[in-house]
Structures are given as structure tokens and as C-alpha cells.
């Protein structure tokens, strides 16, 4: 086990009040060394504690290995350790002085689409591994396509096992060029490449000695500077109502009974954009217009001088409670949106779905659709084709099987304010749910999410650093 040549300081607690959170997901094919890379990232960033390392070293010794198998740090389930594979998405946490990271470690071999879609849905960055000896595989293209489809802002391709091609710059340059071409053809917003040896540690956290020809950032350097998620500045305000808070004369201890007798607030997490007190808003699907008169949180409501002073504004992804000028009929599932930019409501949704269920999707299927905080009944009217991830074209298909990505048309029992996923990852996403056993059937994206892959130029690129 190599000793890190660059020390990563323990997160300075004084910085953490202002440090941001980056969500990343890993993807790769079997044996690309993904668990080893994640283990290396955790180990070299000093996020592995002594007792965890002891356990890994003990098990590695028991198995007759000469050095600690860092993959054991992430393979948490009994079956995973026994079979030496990763079964399910595992979440890891590490921090540097600059940033804290939530890492969704997605297994590559079983149900790769299901796991990669899950990890990518919340990711700011996908870290995709390829084996320098094998180059780009069919699965690499698929992972890039999924990252593009789910509108992940950044993809970092770690060209791993560079030690096994004699640290060859020519091989790296060849692969990096190929990755850029494929990523561009699939409409990936922003792609970076790094030559790494997860086994030996080069260019993961520390630069190492073997790639003097590479002067770009290490993997961790990149992760520390890539901008996070969506930008409230450029998106329209949306807040799906989760619950209506109405204490009705019986407020929580610490709140004055009389002051809160008629309190009515609409609680939710800002899905996108910014809202200010005084802003005109529209409530969907009713279409009623009203004005925001207060933006409350538990902290502002606990203000002894003026519990209704509130915040001047709220932005995504804050959880707040809005007070509105008019007593309009608003319930869970309604969407409060900027009056200056109102989404349309519809009962007919066209979308791209990643099918995650073992039984196929056929036209005529009755399902539940969950969009923001609203769940409605839906019928599948049409399956318009299956995405060929190699050509980024739709192949004809009349049903979707497990791990297929395809285009479908749905008819809903009630209208939803569904926006194009290309415009908003929050209000453009939906789930399809089995109404009988409650299982999650599909991850859905409103509109032609594949358009970006076919016409990359149309894609808004806002995340280039």
C-alpha cells in the first residue's frame, strides 16, 4: 500500500459551514477496477479510519493477498465479499478541506442501467472508468449515453490501469480523443479525462511519478473544482407543495396560540429558481394567480420579535413554507410557479423511460405516475421505440424489457405541470410505479430527452469551467 505523497488535510471544521456538497456517481464495466478506485480515493484522501483498514488488511491476508484489497472497503454485503463483486449501489462519504462528497458507487455488471440511472439521477458528476488495455467498450458508450440522457452536468473518464500499458502517453491520447468524440456524439455536456492507476494511486489523489507527460489535474483535483448541480439564477421558480401547515389553534410548543390561529403555509422544497416576497405566482393545475406574502422557516417562525418577518427570498434547493395573499384552494401535489414563466399542464405526456422492471412494458399497461409531489393514474398509449445506445437512434420496438431505454406516450387521469427534462431535472422527472405491488417500474424524463444525443448542438451547455 503506497504512502500518499501529497497530504490531504483533515476537513477544517471552520471551513465546513461554507463548504459545498458534491454528489458523484461511479460507473464502469466489470473488472475495470472501480471498487479499487473508490477505495483509493477514500484511502488517499484519508477518509478510511484505522479500524476499517485493519479489517480490510485482515481479510486480505486471510485470502492470501500480498497487499490490502481496497475493493473490500466498498463491498459491504456478505454476498459481495464472498463473490468479489459489487451488487448494489453503495454510498460513501469523504471530505477534503475544500468540499464534501457523496459518492454513489454503482456496480457495473448486473442491471447496469438500473444502477447507473439511479446513481446518475442525483449526480453532479459521473466518474466513468475504462480499462486502458480494453479501451472503449459497448458498456462505456452506454454509460456515456445514460449520463447524457439524465443530464449529468459533468463526466470524468478515468483511464485506469495505465500501468498495464506501460504508462503509455500514446495509448492515453488515443483513448482520450476517442472518448471526446463519442461523448460529443452522445451530447454529453462536459467531459474530462484523467490517466490513473487505481492500484498504485497515480493521478487519483496524488500525482505520482509515472506519468510525467500528463500535466492536467488529478481526479480529486477535478472533483474539488467542478461546479455543482443546477443554477437557481437561470431557472424559473417552481415549488411543489408537499404539505399544508395549518396548526388551527394548536401550534407546536413555543408558538403563540393566538398568533398562529389562522396560519396557513404551503411547505415544500424549492425545485428550481428563486422566489421573493411580493412575487406573483400561479398555482397549478388550477391556474389561480396570487402573491407570495411570506417565506417562513422554523428559524424565522421562532423569532420572538416578529415570527412573521420571514426570509426575503428562497432559492433551490431550500425547504421553506410559503404564505400567499389569497386563500386559494391549494393541496399537496399542486405546483407553485413564477407567474412570469408558467409551465403548461397536460394529461398527455411523452417521455423517455429507463425500464427497471423484470416484466416488460407494453402499450395498454395501467401504472401510476409520480411527478414532483403528485401521483396520478396513467395508461401507456404507445411505445414508440427503443434507444440503440450504440447509434443513439430509436430502433422500432413495441415493448420495453429490463434495462431498455425507450420513448413512450402516456395518458394521465389528471393533469400535471410536466416540463421538459432538458429544461429542468426536477420538474421534468417522473417515476412509473406498479399500482399493485408498489414497485418502481421506470425512471422517466419528460420530452425527447434523446434529442440531445441526436442533435448535440441544441443542448444548453452551462457547466463548462
Amino acid at each position: 500500500m503506497g504512502t500518499p505523497t501529497r497530504s490531504v488535510s483533515t476537513p477544517a471544521t471552520s471551513d465546513r459551514g461554507t463548504s459545498t456538497l458534491l454528489r458523484l456517481a461511479t460507473a464502469g464495466s466489470v473488472d475495470d477496477g472501480k471498487s479499487t478506485l473508490v477505495g483509493r480515493l477514500l484511502f488517499d484522501s484519508k477518509s478510511v479510519l484505522a479500524d476499517q483498514l485493519d479489517a480490510v488488511e485482515r481479510v486480505s491476508r486471510d485470502r492470501g493477498l500480498e497487499s490490502a484489497d481496497l475493493a473490500l472497503l466498498t463491498d459491504g454485503l456478505r454476498a459481495e465479499r464472498e463473490q468479489g463483486i459489487t451488487i448494489d449501489v453503495a454510498y460513501r462519504y469523504f471530505a477534503t478541506a475544500k468540499r464534501s462528497f457523496i459518492l454513489a458507487d454503482c456496480p457495473g455488471h448486473v442491471q447496469y442501467t438500473r444502477n447507473t440511472v439511479t446513481g446518475a439521477s442525483t449526480a453532479d458528476v459521473v466518474v466513468l472508468l475504462i480499462d486502458a488495455r480494453k479501451g472503449l467498450l459497448e458498456q462505456t458508450r452506454r454509460h456515456l449515453a445514460v449520463a447524457s440522457l439524465l443530464r449529468v452536468p459533468h463526466v470524468v473518464v478515468a483511464v485506469n490501469k495505465i500501468d498495464l500499458v506501460d504508462w503509455s502517453q500514446a495509448r492515453y491520447d488515443e483513448l482520450a480523443a476517442e472518448i471526446r468524440t463519442v461523448a460529443a456524439s452522445l451530447g454529453v455536456a462536459d467531459v474530462h479525462t484523467v490517466p490513473v492507476s487505481a492500484l498504485l494511486g497515480d493521478n487519483v489523489v496524488d500525482r505520482g511519478e509515472h506519468t510525467p507527460w500528463y500535466d492536467g489535474p488529478t481526479l480529486l483535483d477535478l472533483l474539488e473544482v467542478l461546479p455543482t448541480g443546477d443554477d437557481p439564477e437561470v431557472e424559473a421558480f417552481r415549488l411543489p407543495v408537499q404539505v399544508v401547515l395549518r396548526p388551527q389553534g394548536a401550534p407546536a410548543p413555543g408558538h403563540d396560540h393566538d398568533l398562529f390561529r389562522d396560519y396557513r403555509g404551503y411547505a415544500g422544497q424549492v425545485a428550481s429558481g428563486v422566489v421573493k416576497v411580493g412575487d406573483e405566482v400561479v398555482v397549478l393545475p388550477s391556474g389561480r394567480r396570487t402573491t407570495v406574502v411570506g417565506i417562513d422557516t422554523a428559524d424565522t417562525l421562532a423569532d420572538g420579535d416578529d415570527p412573521f418577518a420571514g426570509l426575503p427570498e428562497a432559492f433551490a434547493p431550500q425547504s421553506v413554507t410559503l404564505r400567499l395573499a389569497d386563500d386559494v384552494d391549494i393541496a399537496r401535489g399542486d405546483l407553485i410557479a413564477a407567474a412570469s414563466d408558467v409551465p403548461e399542464t397536460t394529461q398527455d405526456v411523452e417521455g423517455t423511460v429507463a425500464w427497471l422492471s423484470g416484466s416488460p412494458l407494453r402499450p395498454g399497461a395501467r401504472v401510476l405516475l409520480k411527478h414532483t409531489t403528485r401521483t396520478v393514474q396513467a395508461v401507456v398509449k404507445d411505445v414508440a421505440g427503443r434507444l440503440n445506445l450504440d447509434t443513439a437512434e430509436l430502433d422500432p420496438a413495441d415493448q420495453l424489457e429490463l434495462n431498455d431505454i425507450g420513448h413512450v406516450t402516456l395518458r394521465l387521469a389528471q393533469p400535471v405541470a410536466a416540463e421538459e427534462y432538458l429544461v429542468s431535472r426536477r420538474t421534468g422527472a417522473f417515476l412509473l410505479i406498479d399500482g399493485q405491488d408498489g414497485g418502481t417500474l421506470a425512471a422517466g424524463m419528460v420530452g425527447d430527452a434523446l434529442a440531445a444525443a441526436r442533435c448535440p448542438a441544441q443542448r444548453p451547455v452551462q457547466y463548462v469551467i
Binding site: P232, A252, P317, S319, G435, A443
Partner: protein, 331 residues
């Protein structure tokens, strides 16, 4: 000094501390970024509101331990100015620290919450459970927990588990479906996409919900500091009569007495604190002079041992001890 001599923190203190530490103060456009703690708080509040909207009978597992205290604090923030709209449930092993039980009762009283207690001692007394040879009661909590869930028809159970705690927990969803036997099937979990949680379940099934999934031990302590949350005093350095067992410091108490001559010879008074709070019989103290929250944060930020590794005998039973307990319906 015995455990009962430890002064209890006054839980009413929380109301006296200004709780605006996390509120954004600067509203210029550059400031429209949430800090780490603000982002985690918002995510947890979102989870609480989703569950209350979509389930009929939620309940929150409340032990008086720091994670459950933070979880309950977040629940109060999610629904203010309305009261927390669900009861709290504690599985009392009969081996809990007395000062933690007192804190539990005072907190439920302060927030005017209904407190349900499922008692492992009752199960042992009437023969439904048998005391284990090693004396630990942590694994015995599962049956009273599942009976309470079934008996009260709870359909959503908030737990304070964090994914950074343990490697089986790292695979846990925020919404974790349990079958009618309370079992967790790690190989067949629902994919969890965006922040669209799927809480659909069949009659008899329930969902364990982990609002602190993405919090780390350090996040918890920094949030306790930022929000001025009062904890049971045993989380801070104090003098206690302890002895050595299996490399841990156990409190001398009626349920954790030295069993061997070597253990008896090691009895001494030390300045210690607890990183986790569970059964007195299997929760170890750590030598510490962290008398306040700032000192604890400094200690946690530089520690080289995980909190469960340092303090939980029950997780040392085997490589997959936690996974096995979880599959059977443990927290």
C-alpha cells in the same frame, strides 16, 4: 460515582438557544448556494414532509441518542409552526443509561409528543425472549420493535441510521421497504431516483425511512453546535467508574459488572465520554477530555477509529453482524 449521579442536561435549554445559525444571512446572488449543513437539513426536511403526506401512521424511533435527537429536531423544523405530527417509539432494552431515559422522557414532555415504549424486559419476564449468554440485549430489540410496529399499525418508521456508520448501512435506501416479517432484502431494493421517493407498500409491509442517510458523524456534531441542541451529558467528558473488556471501556453498572479477575483489577475512574449511546452492557466509552461541543467536533474531525468500531461490541460479532441484524428487521 455511579451513572445516576451524572447531571442531566436540561432539554428545555434548546428552546432558549437562538436557532438561526443555519439561516442564510446574505441574500446577494453569490450567496445562493447552500452550505453542506444547509443542504443536508433541507434534504432531511423534504423527506419528513414526504412521509407525513404519503403515509397514514408514521412513527419516529427515539432513544435519546444523538442521531435520534437530531432527527427529532429536524422533524420539529419540518412542520413548524405545527407540532410534530407523529408519536415517538423507544425500544427499551432495560439496560439503557438512566440519564438517557430521563432525557428521552423530558424531551417527549417538552414537545408534547406521545411516547410509546416497547420493553425488552417485559419480553424476558414473560418468556417471549431469553437472555443471551453474553448478556447483550441489542439483538433482542428486533422482536419488540416489530411487534410495536404491527400492534400500532405503523406504516412508516423513521430511523436515525446513517450510511457512513457501517458498510451494510452504506447500501441502505432512504426509503427501505420491509416485508410483513420486517425483513430487509438488500439484493432486491427499489431503485431510488432523483428525490422522488416511492413509499407504496402492500398491507402488512412497512417502510423504514432514514432522513439522516447522507449525514456523517461530523455533520451531526456540527449541526448540534450550529443549532444549539442539548444532548444527554454523557456525550461530553465526565468522570465515570469503568473497566476494560475486549479493548473497550465499559461503565461499572448493575448490568455491566466485571466478570473476570482481570476485568475487576482494571476498575478505575476515568475521564470519558460516549460516542454512541446504546446498551450499557455493550456500549463502550472513550477516554476524552472533550467537555463541550467544540471540543467534541475537534475530536471527531481527527479521530482514526469509526464510532461503531470504537464503541460497539455487538458489531464485532462477525464481519456481517449488522447486515444479519438488519435482514431480520433491526433498526
Amino acid at each position: 460515582m455511579t451513572a445516576t449521579d451524572i447531571p442531566l442536561a436540561d432539554p428545555t435549554e434548546t428552546t432558549a438557544v437562538p436557532t438561526t445559525a443555519l439561516a442564510p444571512t446574505d441574500t446577494t446572488s453569490e450567496a445562493r448556494r447552500l452550505s453542506q449543513l444547509q443542504a443536508l437539513e433541507s434534504e432531511s426536511i423534504h423527506i419528513f414532509r414526504e412521509v407525513v403526506a404519503e403515509f397514514e401512521r408514521p412513527v419516529l424511533l427515539f432513544s435519546g441518542g444523538k442521531d435520534s435527537v437530531v432527527m427529532l429536531h429536524l422533524a420539529t423544523k419540518a412542520f413548524a409552526p405545527s407540532p410534530v405530527p407523529f408519536p415517538v417509539l423507544h425500544v427499551d432494552t432495560g439496560h439503557n443509561f438512566p440519564e438517557v431515559l430521563a432525557y428521552r422522557d423530558a424531551t417527549a414532555e417538552r414537545l408534547r409528543l406521545r411516547l410509546e415504549v416497547a420493553s425488552v424486559q417485559d419480553y424476558i419476564d414473560d418468556g417471549r425472549l431469553r437472555e443471551r449468554a453474553d448478556g447483550t440485549r441489542n439483538p433482542l430489540q428486533t422482536q419488540p420493535l416489530l411487534d410495536a410496529i404491527t400492534g400500532h399499525k405503523f406504516d412508516a418508521v423513521f430511523g436515525g441510521g446513517r450510511r457512513d456508520e457501517e458498510k451494510a448501512r452504506a447500501k441502505e435506501r432512504v426509503y427501505s421497504l420491509r416485508d410483513e416479517f420486517g425483513q430487509w432484502d438488500p439484493r432486491n431494493q427499489r431503485p431510488e431516483l432523483w428525490n422522488l421517493y416511492n413509499g407504496r407498500h402492500r398491507p402488512g409491509e412497512h417502510v423504514r425511512v432514514f432522513p439522516l442517510s447522507n449525514w456523517t458523524e461530523l455533520d451531526i456534531w456540527e449541526y448540534i453546535a450550529a443549532e444549539g441542541i442539548a444532548l444527554p451529558e454523557l456525550y461530553y467528558a465526565h468522570e465515570r467508574e469503568v473497566f476494560d473488556r475486549d479493548g473497550m471501556l465499559l461503565a461499572v453498572s448493575p448490568v455491566s459488572l466485571p466478570r473476570t479477575d482481570a476485568e475487576a483489577a482494571s476498575v478505575r475512574t476515568e475521564t470519558v465520554r460516549y460516542r454512541t449511546v446504546g446498551d450499557m452492557s455493550c456500549t463502550g466509552a472513550v477516554a476524552s477530555d472533550a467537555y463541550d461541543v467544540a471540543a467534541v467536533i475537534a475530536e471527531v474531525a481527527t479521530t482514526r477509529i469509526t464510532e461503531r468500531g470504537a464503541t460497539r461490541a455487538d458489531d464485532r460479532l462477525s464481519e456481517a453482524a449488522m447486515e444479519d441484524r438488519k435482514k431480520e428487521g433491526y433498526f
